[in-house]
């Protein structure tokens, strides 16, 4: 990638350095070991099942429906959840996990044969993807990491993993492999930090999504469904 431009840095940083009592700005600082680290003790020692219970409890607070299933039943469960939220049009990521979890038939044949329009994200089609997402009733993605405490799914954008699949459709369904559940944001942030330290590029967009969009801007009344999806559902798949 072509390096971007940096304007007027020297004078700006030297002013900051001077105020901090340095002659020139520092170019190497290591963050210390923090004296307190309470974030690591939350749900310490919880099993996968314990964490799933935490997630389910939290989902009630964030207006999100949870459906549990296993790999064999997943196509049927997903089909039911989609019709419960009003059916197509459907837009999905182009993600190898759909095939791994036995959903290819549903996506490529079953829905299409039964009159449900399905658009699978395809970068070669350019802006058509966005129009499709905007007109879709339901967007479907997988969760890359799932946070039990807050009921959050973490999505890393990529060529087949468009950002707007989880934002533009009226409803959003996220498939959560049970093995992706961690206690809280701490574990996800640590994982990403390790990637950065190892010199790997972070995704251009990392979304931490917690239920449907909402606002309390009018007289502090909670309205669920504002600019992003109006409804959200998680389908948790036992994959152990």
């Amino acid at each position: 990638m072509k390096r971007g431009r940096i304007h007027r840095r020297e004078a700006f940083l030297n002013q900051v350095a001077e105020r901090l009592g340095r002659k020139a700005y520092a170019t190497n600082v290591q963050a210390p070991q923090w004296r307190h680290q309470p974030q690591w003790t939350v749900f310490q020692g919880y099993s996968e099942d314990d964490l799933l219970e935490v997630l389910k409890t939290q989902c009630a607070a964030i207006h999100t429906d949870v459906f549990e299933t296993n790999k064999e039943q997943l196509p049927l469960t997903l089909q039911k959840v989609v019709s419960r939220y009003g059916g197509g049009p459907v837009v999905t990521w182009n993600d190898p996990r759909f095939a791994e979890y036995g959903l290819s038939h549903l996506l490529y044949h079953h829905w299409r044969n039964s009159g449900i329009h399905v658009h699978i994200w395809d970068p070669s089609l350019g802006a058509v993807n966005i129009t499709e997402a905007e007109q879709a009733n339901i967007g479907i993605t997988f969760s890359d990491i799932t946070l039990a405490e807050s009921g959050t799914v973490v999505l890393f954008s990529d060529r087949g993993k468009g950002r707007t699949v989880s934002f533009l459709p009226q409803n959003y369904i996220c498939i959560i492999p049970k093995s992706t559940i961690v206690p809280r944001m701490t574990q996800a942030a640590f994982y990403i930090h390790q990637q950065v330290k190892a010199g790997k590029e972070v995704a251009s967009c990392i979304n931490f999504i917690t239920g449907p969009s909402n606002s309390a801007d009018i007289e502090m009344n909670l309205v669920v469904g504002v600019h992003g999806p109006v409804k959200a559902a998680y389908v948790v798949v036992a994959d152990g």
Binding site: R3, F190, E219, V226
Partner: protein, 476 residues
Amino acid sequence: MSMKIGEEPFHARVKSGIDNSFMRGAVAGAQERLHARRLKAAAELGNWEEWRALGEEIRQHTLANLDFYLFQLSENVAKRGGHVFFAQTAEEASQYILDVAMEKQAKKIVKSKSMVTEEIQLNAVLEKAGCEVIETDLGEYILQMDDHDPPSHIVAPALHKNKEQIRDVFRQKLAYDKTEKPEELALHARQTLRREYLSADIGITGCNFAIAESGSITLVTNEGNADLVTALPKTQITVMGMERIVPTFAEMEVLVSLLTRSAVGQKLTSYITVLTGPRHLEEVDGPEEFHLVIVDNGRSNILGTEFQPVLQCIRCAACVNVCPVYRHIGGHSYGSIYSGPIGAVLSPLLGGYDDYKELPYASTLCAACTEACPVKIPLHELLHKHRQVIVEQEGRAPISEKLAMKAFGLGAASTTFYKLGSKMAPSVLNPFTTNERISKGPGPLKAWTAIREFPAPEKERFRDWFHHRKKAGDQP
């Protein structure tokens, strides 16, 4: 100064705030709800004080090494193909953004909520040049539609408006024909703004936390508007106050956890979005071009002074939500986009004492703000420091404060006057007293009690009580 809202003098603003009974009811209700939610969210963690200590330590370390982290941030943004502009003044920041807009021949610009763009008056600059600028956060959108009514709360900008007023604004400006139900109003905004995201040339955002190690910016929202603002237009411009930065993802996580709990009592808001550079070549959504504008605008002058801790602020408004003075006078009384205790500390520093010398006195120094702050800014101590600076160095305490002190000095200096005065006080002040507090006092107390209560004099004077106590032979 650009962060200023309105030209009315302080006491006139306070009076219109106090006379606005809807606003006062709304503020009191919101304070109670947000306060309760914050306490519950903190209690769920169990060791909130440890979290606060960690938050404080992270913020202090980052500020002490701000030059390095800004350097690292800019290097990493550039590595990922983004452009960085360091703006020492509000004007430099706005001019750079205007230059980008002109280069892109931008007609329509969508924005997600950002305090710093309010501070640099960006919208006015862009609108003057002929761009249409649309705020997309629901609260900000309502204010913009209502002829740019200023925000009255850092997190809930339209807190001072009721739903009927919002309905009327929508009817006048947006051809709205439904009721004052919040759901219907929000749906209308959703439908109207969808078209704007899809047709905008530029998306502008603020920044909750920049991450130095990766050159990323973090946006914390509930509505999903920031995600559409950054996913759909071809150009993204993010504006950040220079202190809004953390070393790595690990610290971002801690501060986000503190922010969402302290602001709205949520474990996380619906959307925490971390964006790094423009989109990759093979990606379809996300901007083709990314600009990060880092704004000083008076902040570096705070560094290295006794007021440095104010830069630890993560803009959660927990201090606003516990402040008894804010509860009485509302956000507009502060005359600044930054209201409440944090506004009373920050506004004089960024905007100068000429405009904001009264704000440090709009406080009871009760320390509720300091106790609520998730990153342990000693807010009430900083307010007290402001008063010291104003009195000692600037010699310009508000007139009423001077008169009160003078009168007290006169009364206290003479034994006869003092005896007489303290004896008369209970009956003279009785008509102004409710529940042992004076909230609308006469004479020199008027200006004082306009913005804070004054304890009612005890029915029995200390001198009398002491005298009787000794006589009765009570145990000390």
